[in-house]
């Protein structure tokens, strides 16, 4: 079995592809720097990430695949699912070898899998756009905690910067411990040195703006008043609004 080691970055993955083509050997497994070798494997090639290599591979892919499909590859990468890098590797390999675009070859296992995973990540992105709930802090900044199962937060930035263009906000991923802060111009990635007080998702009362509590309770009362007693269907509610999002939503607390 041929095994490559790389640094588990997207650029690293593209460089792996570059090395595979130059060496004319295609690995069956991709390991991180210090994962143990699987049984029966020959010695592993160590890939050194280099940006000129990765850019060349990406340019080649962009020639072969449409922009939407390249976006899907990014989505799959952000899923952070185990094995998704190997899936991407197989997909890119096939795409580069094929004479025409393989993007619609849904009878192929890998093509279908990429589409499925990209769909899941895209769904998570949509969930974030739906269920993010801002709380206003005393200084006027709006704060929202999130903890998506896939790393979909970067994908939502075009939406949030459009929608909330005239207010300062911070959306913080409590699972991955990073977030985006928007300062009325651009959204910048931030990591906080001390974020323990943010991890439970609630701003301290002292930090909140005066009316924040009132608006939260108004919203809760509103969604309750909107419920029709004869049509209670909690299963449908959970289907559309998975329970994992409830902890940060005022209407459910």
């Amino acid at each position: 079995m041929i095994v490559f080691r790389y640094d588990k970055t997207f650029e690293g993955l593209l460089t792996t592809l570059f090395d595979a083509y130059t060496r004319r050997t295609f690995p069956e497994r991709l390991l991180s720097e210090n994962e143990p070798l699987p049984m029966f494997s020959e010695k592993a090639h160590r890939v050194i990430t280099e940006s000129y290599k990765s850019l060349r591979v990406w340019a080649a892919l962009e020639k072969k695949l449409s922009r939407a499909v390249c976006g899907m590859l990014m989505h799959v990468w952000l899923s952070e699912l185990p094995g998704s890098d190997e899936l991407l590797f197989r997909y890119m390999h096939k795409a580069l070898d094929a004479p025409s675009s393989i993007a619609t070859h849904f009878a192929d296992k890998d093509v279908m899998e990429v589409k499925k995973i990209a769909g899941k990540v895209s769904k998570e992105r949509e969930h974030l756009m739906q269920f993010v709930r801002f709380q206003q802090a005393a200084d006027g900044t709006f704060f929202a905690p999130v903890s998506p199962i896939y790393n979909a937060l970067p994908l939502t930035m075009p939406y949030f910067t459009q929608r909330f263009a005239d207010q300062k906000w911070l959306i913080y991923d409590t699972r991955r411990r990073y977030g985006y802060y928007y300062d009325l111009k651009t959204a910048e990635e931030v990591t906080l040195n001390t974020d323990e007080h943010l991890l439970d998702g609630k701003l301290d009362d002292a930090w909140m703006t005066q009316d924040e509590k009132l608006f939260q309770s108004m919203w809760k009362e509103y969604t309750l008043a909107l419920t029709i007693r004869e049509r209670i269907n909690p299963k449908l509610q959970r289907q559309h609004m998975p329970r994992r999002f409830w902890k940060f939503m005022p209407e459910k607390n």
């Binding site: 393989i102 849904f106 009878a107 739906q130 206003q136 263009a165 005239d166 108004m218 209670i232 909690p234």
Partner: protein
Amino acid sequence: MNEQVQEKLKVLAASAKYDVSCASSGITRRNRPGSVGSAEGWGICHSFTENGRCVSLLKIMLTNHCIYDCAYCINRRSNDIKRATLTVGELIDLTLEFYRRNYIEGLFLSSGVVRDPDYTMERMVRVVKDLRTEHRYNGYIHMKSIPGASREWVDEAGRYADRLSVNIEIPKEQNLKFLAPEKNYQSIFQPMFYIQQGVSASNEERKRFRYAPRFVPAGQSTQMIVGATNESDNDILRLSSALYQRSSMKRVYYSGYIPINTGDARLPALKQPPLVRENRLYQADWLMRFYGFQASEIVDDAFPNLDLEIDPKLSWALRHPELFPIDINKAEQSLLLRVPGIGVKSALLIVASRHHGRITASTLAKMGVVMKKARYFITCGELPILTVNELHPDCIRRALAGKTNPKKEADRRQLSIPFPD
């Protein structure tokens, strides 16, 4: 903002909740510097109530005082309910504050009729106009147009709202007059016609001047109550299909009748709202809008009501076994869409992937085709040939309908749990 507003919000939300329309789709508007918000073309649902219904817009009435006395409506003047009225300022504040917290996609403004239709329209228009001009609000606005409103106010509303709607409520005029003595079809279809005219005029204008103002860019919608009167599904679907002929009509909503005003002899006493029938009507509606079906194919005089046990497409397919089986590897997309178990997405996938090679049954399943249904209606060169023609349609019907699953039974029992106030 104070507790008083909160109380009003509760009362007016409860008054607006029987209007089922909720879509925030149909218009994409990017944020312009200095304005608040944006609109996404596909619409975003920001929350779901315990009904599983989405809350996309702040659906609320300006007031629930009403001079009309419609039998099916919770806000009719003879009902003894809490009444409230929001001021323009209060409503605008609420909308903007909720919007800034990502609770809502926009405003859905409705109102009881006070004094006369035009007076009511004037007050509603003031809210949407202030939002758009003074607060430079860029988000979605859906406004109800009051039946009997004059052209002047419909035109004014259309300049600021993204979608306007006039509810038909009852699919036959004599029944409407019986239940809602103050309304008639003239008062409902006239505003609808004004909206259609405004939309066409603005589209013409925009062909000549690129930045001509838009009029109700997300079109209009309407709603019909199902099960309060004796119309058949044939009547309902024929009316919807006629409405969809107008380019500005984007959605017709069906609302299963909920006995709100018990004791009114004009209305049937139902134990449960006709939820299954409502669902079947929506399925039929989807067939008309996305699957290329005509209303006359789904229901007709000989078959006036939808089958409650199986979905309308399957029902249609079982009545037309002569058209099947369809060859997955050759049939056109419009034919694929007619196969039960194949939806719009899977039909697109099938057509897109065909030129790479033959499609087999196992790939179909992976593409999301419901093989449980589809296998009786397709061939792909390798399925055992037991299609609808070898088996009798009745036999397939029995195989696919009427399976009572114990889990669902439990859920139905849950419906009767009284909801805490």
